[in-house]
Amino acid sequence: MPEIFDIVIVGGGPGGLAAGIYGSRSRLKTIILTKGKPGGQASTTQELENYPGFSRGTTGPALMEAMVDHAKSFGTEIVREEVVDLEVEGETKLIKTKSGNEYLAKTVVLAPGAEPRSLNIKGEHGFRGKGVSYCATCDADFFEDLDVVVVGNGDAAVEEAMYLTKFAETVTIIVIHDEGILDCNKASAERAFANPKIKWIWNSVLEEIKGDGLVERVVVKNIKSGELFEMETNGVFFFVGTVPKTEMLKGKIDLNDQGYIITNEEMETSVPGVYAVGDARVKYLRQVVTAAADGAVAAVAAEKYLAEEEGFKERVLNAKEPVMVTFWSPQNESSILAISQLEQVVDEYGGAVKLVKIDTYRNQRVAKRYGVKTIPSVMFFHGGEILDLVTGNLTEEEIKTKIASILKIN
């Protein structure tokens, strides 16, 4: 029998690592599968100064290394494996990796993250690694005393441009907006405006990248006048947002039109027992701190799911005696009456029949699984099999007839 993990986390960024910390700290058997070194996008961000408690001087790689150590200290296993396929429908989920390994899980936390968006500008693809870059920490060294162009004007673009000025002679930021308008936070904007190495081209977009083997020139287009002009540069850095890495989840889990995973407040996806965290999720703010928060929520929700599933198995599916599962809700008056009536009836059989109550306000999963839409409803189980489903209120007589017929069968 291969081992079954309580939680398999797909992705080792801050969301996955936080889920690992919370999961293994709750003594759940937790494993993180990560394509490369854990840390995610944060580990390629040198300047990271907004994670609470870690102020200026903290680097992305250092913070992520601390998170990795933290997760390991509670017993999270971290394995370098690229997940390529998942089967999530059943009670036990199957996760397949590129190396051909398979992992079994009771719950899955998806933390695939996002990757830099490509604009598909002419020359962008061909000059990758030849002057076109999406990673300042990887490539800034090459551009010492050279000139580079940055495309984008959000937090990442402006902050990475500042980092690039430590190496490059000039950093020219191409901004689509009117002069002075940036999408980034005000603190970064002020520092960038004060930096003498940063030059600005407003109302413009990058049209083409040219060169012979390496980047030599770019064509810039003014969107107001439509005018095109060429400028010499040695490198082009793109920071124009990210796209979620959710291709392999299509058709398996509900995604929105942009490919982000849809979850609720508990990080539950459209599939029971599968959670999603971090940048690949539909959310308002994509930051290290919000990814970590998602991870904590998902691990706690997964823990509750495991407890409920185990409980249902133990009390209903594995019970020796016939079990009546009644679905009720504290907001539904008639379901409350039905429960007290059922309790009285069951008492008369002195343990020959068991009653299990499921509060559908707190746990909708079991009701959904068995297609129970009306409250109150009663399901009859024996030996793990469903014998009957009765919806609506029952009279005492009807209950007794049902029980009698079941006890006779058995």
Partner: protein
């Protein structure tokens, strides 16, 4: 893996007969560090079939640029001193292995 630099590159790579794989990396490049254990494993596996070298591109900038490498991670496979294959940025170690297999078989 042999560490090469601007002094040894010519001898170890460009003048070498057969296949030489060069892993261009730098201490600040996290994706490069992610890749390295995989490259080391390939070096073991392809012992005798290809020589494996690594080059700190940050410390050997001119050399890297002369090899038209201006972004990390980059892996170049040379055959008799000529580029036979090149991987840059978004590639997996499995892609490198597939190419190696093809070239050396």
């Amino acid at each position: 893996m042999t560490e090469v630099d601007k002094i040894t590159f010519e001898e170890e790579v460009l003048k070498a007969k057969g296949f030489v794989l060069v892993d261009f990396w730098s201490p600040k490049c996290e994706p490069c560090k992610e890749l390295m254990p995989g490259v080391a494993a390939l070096a073991e596996k392809y012992q005798g079939k290809a020589k494996f070298c690594k080059l700190d591109a940050a410390a050997n900038k001119r050399l890297s640029i002369s090899q038209k490498v201006l972004g990390l991670p980059t892996i170049v496979i040379y055959k008799d001193g000529e580029k036979a294959a090149e991987f840059s940025k978004d590639f997996a170690i499995e892609d490198v292995e597939a190419k190696l297999k093809e070239l050396t078989s």
